[in-house]
Amino acid sequence: MENQKDYNAAEATVTETDTELTVTVYKNKSHRLWLTVLLKIVAYAVLVLGAVLLVFPFLWMLLSSFKTGNEASLQFTFFPKQWVFENYKELFTGTDFPIFRALGNTVLIEVSVIIIGTFVSAMAAFSFAKLKLRHKTFWLLFLMSGMMVPYAALMLPQYRAFDAMHMTDTLWPLILPGFFGNVSMIFFLIQYMRGIPNAYFEAARIDGANHFTCFILIMLPLIKTAIAAQVIFWFVGIWNDYFAPSLYLTSRNRMTLQVLLGQLNAGTSGKYLPMALAGAVLSSIPMLVIYISCQKFFIESLAISGVKG
């Protein structure tokens, strides 16, 4: 919200100084006007071209998912010669690439990780923000130091451990780590919770509520929107995650959507190419819906992260 205001304000001052300029150096007025118009034309042209370049792959994905395998791989056509729905039908009904199983697996990971992980993260954030914890700074830095360790440095021992427990090719290696919370979520929620007055909790404590009750009955309802925002980010992250799932999941019935998509792509003799594209379309739709409906929030949180970072 604040951002939006700043944006307008800044825009206003720019135009203001602009007119000021044209007044003070009126001799150059026509020259300047000409330059401004040219700049505007160039700006729109470049911006529109860029937008077309970036959005086009999505359209291309959609168009080409209606082509036959031969048409997509052997020749070049812009629009499908003949619109076929076989690719989608094959994905929905075929057994080679069980897309509904993949969807189910993805949702299973999303739901279990997000419900438990969010609860755990919020609880830790509550402790950091509102309780008297000794060595608070140490523990926070301790947790945050994990953010600079790349997953590549952790995957081999983790894989070996999950293998020893016969958990490879199950969803457990992807679900279990999520149960222990998410550091960036903890960090974000701490900052949000600090803004909530202590008086709420003191009053409840006097009435005999314990810390856990305070957290559940007072804090959680107050930070609903902040949690929702973080959950959306996490949801998108898990949905698009490819690296770890592709390491662990090897049989097609166990795969998440992204890993199955990777399989569709890897298996391409040209026959599967439009099917892979159809799969890409299907897996993108939920993210597009979420992104478009929450776009303001996505862009604003990104902008804030950069200004603060």
Partner: protein, 321 residues
Amino acid sequence: MENTVNAATAESELSVPPQAPPKKKPRSRVEKRENLVAFLFILPPVVGFLIFTAISMGCTFVFSFQNYYVRRGTSEFVGFTHYVSLFSGMFKAGELGNAFIKSVGNTIFLLLSLPVSIIFGLVVAGLLRLGDVKGGKIFQILYYLPAVSSAVALNIVWRYIFQSNGLLNHMFGTGTPWLSDDMLLKVAIVLKNSLNATGGAMILLLAGMLNVSKELYEASSLDGAGKFKQFFAITLPMLTPVIFYLLITGLIGGLQSYADSQVFAKGDSGAATIVYFIWQQRTNGAAGYGIASSASVFLSVCIMIITLVQFKVSNKWVYEE
């Protein structure tokens, strides 16, 4: 980051005294109890960190000095052998060392998309401001679209665009072998990644531009500076923190790239990155596991150094208020 944390905790401690009882007692039973409860609340993330980060990291370190016999499940200590063989490819042609050096080279080449995307982002954001373009929000939404989309889906469609009879070759009437030539393959990845990362860079740079104090512009326009001069003399220097942030986060992410090698290049050695090398080596005989581990240690040391440099340097040469 460190500073924010310290400052923030200091702040919260400052806000405590008014509510605290006037007499300072030694730690009461109530306080001890609260401390215990507070610790229990943060216990799950702490345990998770210990298991999934600290212990895992330690194991990787230990494994990097070992040979691992998968069938027998035993290990033997081999000292720095794996580290030596990783880097031996630089001096003499050993097949394995070569593969690693090549993967380092590939990873660094692919990082080219980073400066390119920042320049793209700067151009787009600059034009949006200079041209006083209406509907900036819509452009931001469209440009950021690839960043929230799945890397796999994007790689599939971009591969289709780059294939020998694909859209790109058709449009320009060329027969460029984008996907089968080692160098062109990397160029293709850099091109698509630069485009896809433009939106993020643009949004951050725009936010940075709006943060520049308006007085600077007013003062300079009184001195007769035009829009272009203002852009290069004021806006650009003031954007160094954002550019630095983009570089560091991009560097850390880029060093860990995997999907490009696996999905876009389909495992072609011409675009195999360090992480791809690590995952491939893992099953390559008794030494493979140790070699993969030592490459992981190398990678994480690089990333930790970059992160620490960020903390140090960002205060020095980057303009910050």
